[in-house]
Structures are given as structure tokens and as C-alpha cells.
Symmetry: C2
């Protein structure tokens, strides 16, 4: 039942900045975001997953046009949070399935990642909420992904918008 | 300017299942979600961040009442996705700041993680979208966190709801 899906959103020219292996203790994320806020870095998506041996990675996406500034800001904070390194990757895109109650079943996420998997598109990051499932993928594949997701969720061409995915 | 924040949502009794170090190639997420869908596992939050040396972790949260079933389902799929292990952690909670246009500035995320950092509450996972910033934290600290976030975002007691954070 794909009726819960309202549309497909996408955003091209996305970059990702990652603090690799930072210390996983209270106050570390605070140090990072306070420093990035002062430098007026605008992050779209922020993702942190499980840590291992007391360290974890924290990533955020920015428009590719902000990649330089974001990377510089992250480098300045790196030592304060004892991150092993800061990595930056451009040429990415975000693609999102948008609707209501998408987390009521894994069916929606399954159709989305299944569609990308069939096309051989690797998923670089995943972030979901009740109304949105977002995958970060290679920027070269975004239009192909959007078209295929339209078909998979039986949407017309007009149910698509480019902006904040 | 905290006027964009509509309220604080939280969900107690949350568990997290993680596929540790699975192969980072197309179709892997598809295999996972197809298998979990068949077994009717309901995941709230799905997070995957950057990979290292061709492997990455993929986590999802479930209500603690589904922890057993979710962990068994994940174990059955583990070999198909060549994950080093599957870990399960209960006793967690989700707390979310909810509003519109929250990704317009890192200020909101910064106040949220700053509030948790001041209390010495460790952030286990982070996931954001334009209308929601969610942190997974230790379940014992959820009520303290919700109260402090109300103060930090200058909300009245009635701007809070417990449900899908
Ligand atoms: C890594 C970072 O999120 C840390 N766990 C914190 O609470 O600040
Ligand atoms: C790890 C998993 O997301 C993989 N990258 C995939 O595309 O399926």
C-alpha cells in the first residue's frame, strides 16, 4: 500500500562533512554545534550512529557551495573534540520519500532502498522520521533515482519537488 | 530565536538494533529491510552513517516490547549481509525538538545538544530533518531531559507530548 507517499523530494549538489572517531561522551556534540553555529554553517541533515570503543562518527550535510566553509569550521573544532580526522565528500545528492506515517511499517523504506539497490545505487547515509525517508547517494544518479522512485511508489511526474530533501 | 520550536516529544522504552560492519554495497539495505518487513518488524528511526574500509553500521530503533523479535529477525539476516555482528541495546529513550524550519540554522541543534551536554547526558544517536531533531539517550534520563529542553526553548509545560519522537 503506497498511498501514504505524497511525493519524492531531492536535492543535488550536496556535500557531507564527517568528524571521524570523536570521543563519545557528553558535551562533545555541544562543542561541535556551538562552533558551527558561530561560523554560520547551515547543516541540513545531521547523523550520528552507534559508537565503538568509546568513539563514534558524526556527519552533517551542507550545500556543496558551503563545503569549503563547513570543512574549515570543522577542522578548527577537531582538536577540541579529539576527532581522529575530519573528512569531506562532495558530489552527493539527497533523495527523500515524503508522506505521513511512513514509519508505521518498514514497507516504505524497503521499497525505497529496494529501488536504489536494483539500480545498483549505493546508499551512503540513511535518515528517517515518521514523514520522510532520506537517502544520501552519488550525485550523478539522483535523476535516475527520482524517476525510479516515482514508478515504485506509483506517483505522477508532478508529485516531485527539488529542495530540502 | 526559539520561536520556531513547537514542542518537545519523547518516547521511553526504546531499544536499538545495529548491524555492525556490514558490507557497504548496493542492495544490502534492500536485503535487510525486505527481511524485516516480512517479519513485520516496525522500526521508528533508521540511521546509517559513513562507512570505513567498505563497511558501515546500520541501526534502527524499535519499542522495547519488540526488541526480542527485532533482534531475532536481524540475526536471521546477518549472514546474507555479511555483518560482523548484530547488537541490541534496550533501556533507551528518544527525545525530539519539533517545529518548522529547524534546519535553517544549527542554533536549534546547538541548544538541544548543549542542554543534554550540560546535564551530562550522553547522546547515543542523532537524526534530524527540517521539522525534527531527535537524540537517542539513556532511558533513565528522559524526563530530566524533557524538562530541561522545555526551559531551554522557553516552552510551557503543555507543549509536550509523548509518542513518536
Ligand atoms: C558524540 C557525541 O554525540 C557525544 N555522545 C555527546 O553526547 O555529545
Ligand atoms: C549499507 C547499505 O546501505 C548499502 N550501502 C546499500 O546501499 O544498500
Amino acid at each position: 500500500d503506497v498511498s501514504r507517499v505524497a511525493g519524492i523530494a531531492h536535492q543535488a549538489a550536496v556535500a557531507k562533512v564527517t568528524f571521524v572517531a570523536l570521543v563519545d561522551r557528553p558535551g562533545i556534540a555541544q562543542t561541535i554545534f556551538a562552533a558551527l553555529t558561530i561560523r554560520q554553517v547551515h547543516a541540513d541533515l545531521i547523523v550520528q550512529n552507534i559508537g565503538h570503543q568509546g568513539r563514534t562518527d558524526l556527519s552533517f550535510t551542507v550545500p556543496e557551495s558551503d563545503m569549503e566553509a563547513a570543512s574549515e569550521a570543522a577542522d578548527e573544532v577537531r582538536e577540541n573534540v579529539d576527532a581522529q580526522s575530519v573528512t569531506v565528500k562532495g558530489g552527493l545528492a539527497k533523495v527523500s520519500v515524503v508522506g505521513a506515517g511512513l514509519s508505521s511499517s518498514l514497507e516504505y523504506a524497503s521499497i525505497m532502498v529496494g529501488t536504489l539497490g536494483e539500480l545498483g545505487i549505493n546508499i551512503d547515509m540513511i535518515s528517517t522520521s515518521g514523514i520522510r525517508i532520506t537517502c544520501v547517494i552519488d550525485g550523478d544518479r539522483v535523476h535516475e533515482a527520482v524517476r525510479a522512485l516515482h514508478r515504485a511508489f506509483r506517483l505522477g511526474g508532478e508529485d516531485s519537488w527539488s529542495a530540502t530533501a
